[in-house]
Each structure stands twice: as structure tokens, then as C-alpha cells.
């Protein structure tokens, strides 16, 4: 992580409860000099920023958490970083605790834990404006004295106090680590020194106390010592047993000890000037926004707006990007001699880049709205409103937005799952989000529904085709819920997740922060997932292009005939008085149709013999029971680049040339296609089977790439692909075979 530099660097960790303005502080301190990665092997993001100056500072942004006792991965990482347990990572020189001044007690709980780690600590007392508004006046001096660490009051959202914080972080002399002042209940306190003693050869003195305490209460913490210090491990188990015999509530001892010390402290330094039970503005807003009737209604409207924006507002920009990519390809083609390299550049590289960039409008828009919801505090309310419904199927309230976003596209949807604090909820949401019908499936639905399903009206205003379209969306959604339920039941079972979610006061959104986050997320997408998407695009081009085969004799002969016809025609035109060049052009134009048809047939010939074509043939036996021939199978494989690609792939296979989604030409060709025995390849039943296959199958490398990025392993994307493709096959199989049995084929 350390960029090579000759100047001295200092490592500082930034920590705080969720929602205290930590990200705001981090961004203000480091500007755009940020690097985002993952902690090795886990989903937790590792964000480091650099503050340059006489003394360079690497600032590590730790995941927001309420406590350092490791009950979740985030807390575990936070603790391990602070104490220097993570492999390849030294302990920081200083910890900056961002604290919400309007919510001191709960925030200081974490501060006392960080102090106990033994690092020098600075408290950034943020949101002093909110505290003032709530009628709290905080005696900063008294707070500093009681805690024993410097306290810097600030309002990060107005950039107040950041300069002072930066100055303190840079000062040569670090603040003295503070003494521990709170006390454990005596029964528990008396067993700690023994345990500390056992850690003597493993940890510096200052951090032995908290490690001993952590191990006393947490099994996961203790486990890590089993091999490193078996004596300590055994000792802790013995001590636990003794405490249990005495009925000492040792697991809660730490929490009670800290709060018992904090409560009077906070009462002393934070003077309430208003009745704490008085209704605040935020309370009054909540009375409407979480009202039994208006609450869900308004939330529905908000969702509709987001959905509308991501679905339709992004479309013109996406179309523009697509047109731009095609235009750029044409430009390159016209400027370069036709060659394999040009093809690679245009169909592989430029298309690959296009495949990445095309997602940006949706990602930017969605993250704008998500940022707005998070920043105002409405996100927590939406989870509050929806939790009951989502909890039923094994998700939680926070899954609503990611799931609905996935109707537009699973990529931003999966990224939106970051707003879920509970890692298990987040993983399940990621796993089922791609079942929601994304907009890339829409052209596929449109083509096959328009081509093969009857047009008649049902129940007056509804058409059969409209209902079919709706059914596709419904099927995806229902399956997503079922999948979530099954995952929760059988894969992520064990202790039920704790919900406990803070409902922060409503705040005015800061657009700077929101824009910042939009850029941040988009960058993460382009850099991390983009690489995979780009690579796979090029790979798919290679698979569709190679091996090259020789053009068959009959086509060569045909081309010769056409050339001959052009010549004769040109000759006769010239004889009629035209200039030689004009005559040639005229003759070529006249034969244009024949040339294009031949070109298209040659492409079809090539792709049939390419790897993808061969793969289509190879998997045909597996796909036949679903009613798919080798062309559809090859189309499905190429659709891995993006679902809508199946249309252009089929167009190539059917020698149609370049076409639009609802080209009547392709539709007619599909309808006319026959097997050797004269039966049609496409019947309405095959169309339904194919539609269902597209609803359920994970036909999208970009989704896999983002799932890889968000879960930091290939395991989950692999599971995702397997279960979705398995489901798709199963459903299509049942529909096709069942339909045939009922005589619908």
C-alpha cells in the first residue's frame, strides 16, 4: 500500500459508529487520493487515503461499527487493524475516533474500547451543530479531561474543524495513550491479571488487557489463540468455567462497566437545555414518513421515481453510448485496412470497452438516489417500513432497494446491497438479485413474444402478449423470493440475524458528498469489474471468430458469378455511353442485394464452424429436451456477453446481417426455420421455454464480474451461476416436455 517515498509516513486509523460523518471526514482529509481494496479473503472493503505534507499520513478508513467486540466481520477487522493482528499490516500510530456529539453515550462506548487498545487517540467530536440544535451544550474541556485524550469539536459537513484535526494529526508529538478509567465488576476484574500474564510473550503490555477481555467473552477471538498460545487458551476456558459456577455475568461485564462509567460522565459534560422527551423536527417528520398509511404510500412513490429514473432516464444516454461505440468502430474500420487485427480492435476491444461503459449511466443515477436516501436518513426508514415483508422471505428491509434496482440491471443492484449492514443479508441479496428481470432481458422478451405468441386480447384491456411480458417479470421476482427463502433456510442457517438498526435524525443532504460517492462507486465498477467484463468480451469475440474455415467452393463460385455479372453489366453500361468508373459503381449497386446476402451467408458459415458454433452443436443434446436447436444454443452461449446479444447472434446465424431488436426480417426467418424432418424449429412452446430460460439463467458475465468484486471470491459467483442455470434448465425442461405431453408442441 505504501507508495515509495523518502518522507516519513505516519499511519492513522479512522474509526467511528455508522452514520457519524466518518466518510465525510475521510473525504475532506484525503481528497481524491484514495485507494480502495479488500482485506485479504473477506468482503470488507479496505479504504486508504493519503494526506501529503512534511509528514505523509496514510489514513485507513475502518468500517463503521458500534463496538470492537467482534460479533461481525466488520468489527473483527476494525479490531484486528487497530491492534495490528492483520498479516502484513502494522498497527497504526494513532486512532482518530469520529463521534456524534448529539449521541455521546453510545459513541463514547466505542471510544473507551479504542483507548483500551493502547493507541494514542484523538476524538473528532463531529455534528456539534446537531447537538446544539438538540439543546445540548458540551463542555469540551471537561470531556477531554475525563477521557484523557484530545477532543476536537467540528461540523464536518460545513468543513468546520477539519483543519484543526489535520493539524493535530500531523503534530510531531503524538498524544499520550490514555489510562483506562472504567472498571469491571470485581469478580471479573480479579481474573484478568492472570490472563494478561499468559499473554506476556505475545503482546505488548498496553494491549494485553483488551485482548484478554475479548477472549473471555468471544469464542472466535479465543480460537485464534488455540495454536499460538495453547496455555492462554486453556486458561481462559478454565476461568470461564469458574465464573459460570459463580454465576458471574462475565459476558456482559465489559458493557456494564463501560456504560456505568460513561453515563455520569456524559451527564456531567453534556448539559441538556431542553426537555429530552420533547418532540424534535425529526420526530414530526417520522410521524408522517413512517405513518401506517402515508409511509408505505410515499415509499412506493419514491421507489417508482427511482425505478423510472434508472429504467428510462438512463436509456437515452445508454443508447448514445452504444451508438458512439458503433460509430467509433465504423470509424476505425474505415480508417484501417480490413484485417483480423481490425476485427479484434472493433469487435473485441471497442465493444468490450462499450460493454463496461454502457452500465455507467444506470450506476450513476442509482447511486445518486441511494446517496440521497442515505444522506437524508430515509434509507433507514425504508428498511423500517419494508422489513416485515422482506423478513418473511429471509431478507431484511434493506434488501428492497437493491432488489428493485435489479429490475433495471443487476450490476447496480448488487452494488446497492452494500447499504446492508448485516453481511448475511447482503450476501443473500446479492445471490438472488440477478433473478429480477433486468432491462437487458427486455429485448429478448420482446422479440420472442412478438414473434411467437398470439396477439389476441384477454379480458378486454389486456393482450395476451402483455400478460406474457408481465408473467416473465413475475416469475423472476417470485423465484428470487423463493431462492432467498431457501438460502436463508439451508445455506445461511445458524443464529438468526439481529436487526437492531439506528434510525438517524433526518438531515439535509450534501450534494458534494453524494456526487463523491457516485464517482467512487463508478470508479470501483470500472476498475474492478470492468477488467473482467472487458476480458470476457474479447474472449467471446475470439470464440466466435476462430478457428477460421475456408469459404466453401460453392460460395466462392457464387461470388465469381456475381463478379462476372458485375463485369458484364458494367461493360454494357459503358457501351451505352457511361464512363468506366460510373459504370462499375452502377453495376455494383445493382448487385448489392446479392452481395449482402452472400456476405451474410459467409458469416453464418464462419460462425457455425467457430468455437461458439461448435459449442452450440456440442451442447445441443443437453438443450434439445428444452426445445432448443444448436443455433439457439450457440446464441445462448454468445449471450453471455450480455443477454441482448442473443439477438445479433441469431441474426448472424440466420444470415440476416445487422438488425434491430424487432426486425421483421429476423422474425420471419425464425418462423420459417425447419428441422430436417420439416417440423418448425420455433413453435410457441419453444418460445415460452426460451423465455423462461432467459428469465432464470445467469446469462451475463458482468453480473458474475460484479459478484466476484463484491464478495471478493469466485465461490459465490460460481454458486450463483450454477443454481440459476440449473433452475433455468429445470423450468424450461418441465415447460417444454409438459407442453409436448399436453399436445401443445
Amino acid at each position: 500500500m505504501a507508495e515509495s517515498t523518502s518522507r516519513p509516513t505516519r499511519k492513522i486509523a479512522l474509526i467511528g459508529n455508522p452514520n457519524v460523518g466518518k466518510t465525510t471526514v475521510f473525504n475532506l482529509l484525503t481528497g481524491m487520493r484514495q485507494k480502495v481494496g479488500n482485506y485479504p479473503g473477506v468482503t470488507v472493503e479496505r479504504k486508504v487515503g493519503r494526506i501529503v505534507g512534511d509528514l505523509d499520513i496514510d489514513l485507513i478508513d475502518l468500517p463503521g461499527s458500534y463496538s470492537l467486540s467482534p460479533k461481525s466481520l466488520d468489527e473483527r477487522i476494525a479490531y484486528d487493524v487497530l491492534i495490528g493482528h492483520l498479516p502484513g499490516e502494522t498497527a497504526p500510530d494513532l486512532a482518530v475516533c469520529v463521534v456524534d456529539a448529539s449521541n455521546l453515550e453510545r459513541n463514547l462506548y466505542l471510544v473507551t474500547q479504542v483507548i483500551d487498545v493502547g493507541l494514542p487517540v484523538i476524538v473528532a467530536l463531529n455534528m456539534t451543530d446537531a447537538a446544539e440544535e438538540a439543546g445540548l451544550s458540551i463542555d469540551v474541556k471537561a470531556l477531554e479531561e475525563s477521557l484523557g485524550v484530545p477532543v476536537i469539536p467540528m461540523v464536518a459537513s460545513r468543513n468546520d474543524g477539519i483543519g484543526k484535526l489535520k493539524y493535530r494529526m500531523r503534530q510531531e508529538e503524538l498524544p499520550e495513550p490514555a489510562e483506562r478509567k472504567w472498571e469491571l465488576m470485581p469478580v471479573v476484574a480479579e481474573v484478568i491479571p492472570d490472563l494478561e500474564e499468559e499473554l506476556k510473550s505475545h503482546l505488548p503490555e498496553k494491549s494485553r488487557f483488551i485482548e484478554a477481555l475479548q477472549c473471555l467473552t468471544s469464542d472466535t477471538m479465543l480460537e485464534s489463540w488455540l495454536t499460538r498460545a495453547p496455555r492462554f487458551h486453556a486458561r481462559v476456558l478454565a476461568v470461564r468455567e469458574r465464573l459460570e459456577e459463580r454465576k458471574a455475568p462475565y459476558r456482559q461485564a465489559e458493557i456494564m462497566g463501560r456504560y456505568n462509567w460513561l453515563s455520569p460522565l456524559v451527564a456531567r459534560v453534556a448539559i441538556k437545555q431542553k426537555d429530552p422527551n420533547q418532540q424534535t423536527v425529526s420526530d414530526r417528520i417520522d410521524a408522517v414518513l413512517t405513518h401506517r398509511i402515508f409511509g408505505p404510500l410515499l415509499f412506493g412513490l419514491v421507489l417508482l421515481l427511482i425505478f423510472q429514473a434508472v429504467f428510462t432516464w438512463a436509456t437515452p444516454v445508454m443508447d448514445g453510448i452504444e451508438a458512439g461505440v458503433v460509430g467509433l468502430g465504423d470509424l476505425v474500420r474505415s480508417g484501417m485496412p480490413p484485417s483480423m487485427f481490425t476485427d479484434l480492435l472493433v469487435d473485441g476491444v471497442i465493444t468490450g470497452v462499450g460493454n463496461v461503459v454502457v452500465f455507467l449511466p444506470q450506476i450513476l443515477l442509482l447511486f445518486f438516489f441511494l446517496g440521497l436516501m442515505e444522506d437524508t436518513g430515509y434509507m433507514a426508514r425504508s428498511a423500517f417500513i419494508m422489513d416485515r415483508v422482506m423478513h418473511r422471505v429471509g431478507l431484511s428491509g434493506g434488501s428492497v432497494v437493491p432488489m428493485l434496482s435489479s429490475f433495471a440491471c443487476a450490476i447496480p443492484g448488487i452494488m446497492a446491497a452494500r447499504t446492508l449492514a448485516n453481511p448475511r443479508d447482503r450476501l443473500i441479496t446479492i445471490m438472488v438479485a440477478p433473478l429480477m428481470s433486468c432491462s437487458a432481458r427486455l429485448p429478448v422478451y420482446t422479440l420472442f413474444i412478438a414473434a411467437f405468441l398470439p396477439t389476441g386480447a384477454v379480458l378486454g384491456i389486456f393482450t395476451f402478449q402483455g400478460i406474457a411480458m408481465f408473467s416473465m417479470y413475475l416469475l423472476g421476482t417470485v423465484m428470487a423470493f423463493i431462492a432467498a427463502f431457501v438460502l436463508r433456510r439451508f445455506v445461511f442457517k445458524g443464529e438468526s440475524s439481529f436487526f437492531a438498526m439506528e434510525l438517524p435524525p433526518y438531515r439535509m443532504p450534501r450534494f458534494r458528498q453524494i456526487i463523491w460517492r457516485m464517482i467512487d462507486r463508478s470508479k470501483a465498477f470500472v476498475v474492478r469489474a470492468g477488467k473482467i467484463i472487458f476480458g470476457m468480451s474479447v474472449l467471446l469475440w475470439v470464440l466466435a471468430t476462430f478457428p477460421r474455415s475456408n469459404t466453401p467452393d460453392e460460395m466462392i463460385a457464387e461470388r465469381a458469378t456475381i463478379d462476372l455479372q458485375i463485369d458484364t453489366r458494367a461493360d454494357s453500361l459503358q457501351a451505352a455511353g457511361m464512363t468506366a468508373s460510373n459504370a462499375l459503381i452502377e453495376a455494383q449497386v445493382a448487385m448489392n442485394g446479392a452481395i449482402r446476402t452472400l456476405d451474410a451467408r459467409e458469416s453464418a458459415y464462419q460462425i457455425e464452424r467457430s468455437v461458439i458454433g461448435r459449442m452450440g452443436h456440442a451442447i445441443e443434446p443437453i438443450m434439445r429436451p428444452l426445445g432448443f436447436d444448436w443455433k439457439i444454443s450457440a446464441g445462448i452461449i454468445s449471450a453471455f456477453a450480455a443477454r441482448e446479444v442473443i439477438i445479433s447472434a441469431l441474426a448472424t446465424l440466420y444470415s440476416v446481417g445487422d438488425i434491430d431488436d424487432d426486425s421483421p426480417l429476423l422474425r420471419e426467418k425464425l418462423k420459417a426455420d425447419r428441422y430436417a424432418d420439416g417440423s418448425p424449429v420455433y413453435t410457441p412452446l419453444v418460445a415460452v421455454s426460451l423465455l423462461v430460460f432467459f428469465v432464470l439463467a445467469l446469462q451475463c458475465m458482468s453480473t458474475l464480474a460484479i459478484a466476484r468484486r463484491e464478495t471478493n471470491s469466485w465461490k459465490w459467483p460460481a454458486v450463483m451461476w450454477l443454481y440459476m442455470t440449473g433452475l433455468a434448465w429445470l423450468f424450461s425442461f418441465v415447460i417444454y416436455q409438459g407442453g409436448k405431453a399436453l399436445g401443445l408442441g
Binding site: R106, M256, V389, H391, F498
Partner: protein
């Protein structure tokens, strides 16, 4: 009685837990015996609920609320 026996808008004081193993997660968030607590409202669909402790709002599910033993002043 537990937190669930309160009506929206009522206040009480936490006495302890209805289980042997106390929910440490809630304790860390400041819900300790002796802490004042207000049941603010139900979510529109009846679950979870909104409570106020130590000056901030927290949303917990009813199953969690049922763990909290309280006494009305």
C-alpha cells in the same frame, strides 16, 4: 412485563432480560438494566418497532423487543 406490553408513546425502565443469555448486541447499543426506554411506534406493517434510548432512535424487531423486561414507572 416486556417492552411489547407497552403502547406506542409509553415510557418505561429496563429491568433485565427474559433470556438467560442477554442480547449483548442490544446492550452494546446502550440498552442496559436501569436505562429509560420509550416505545415510539410500530412500523406500518406492525413489525419492527421504533424505540428511543439514550436520546436516539433504534429500530428492533418484535422478537428482540420481547427479550427486554421492563417496568412502568
Amino acid at each position: 412485563m416486556t417492552l411489547l406490553d407497552l403502547k406506542p408513546g409509553q415510557r418505561a425502565c429496563i429491568q433485565g432480560w427474559t433470556t438467560v443469555e442477554p442480547p449483548l448486541r442490544l446492550m452494546e447499543l446502550g440498552l442496559l438494566p436501569g436505562t429509560d426506554i420509550e416505545f415510539v411506534r410500530f412500523a406500518p406493517l406492525g413489525d419492527p418497532i421504533d424505540i428511543k434510548v439514550r436520546g436516539y432512535h433504534l429500530s428492533i424487531r418484535k422478537t428482540e423487543a420481547a427479550l427486554i423486561r421492563i417496568e412502568r414507572p
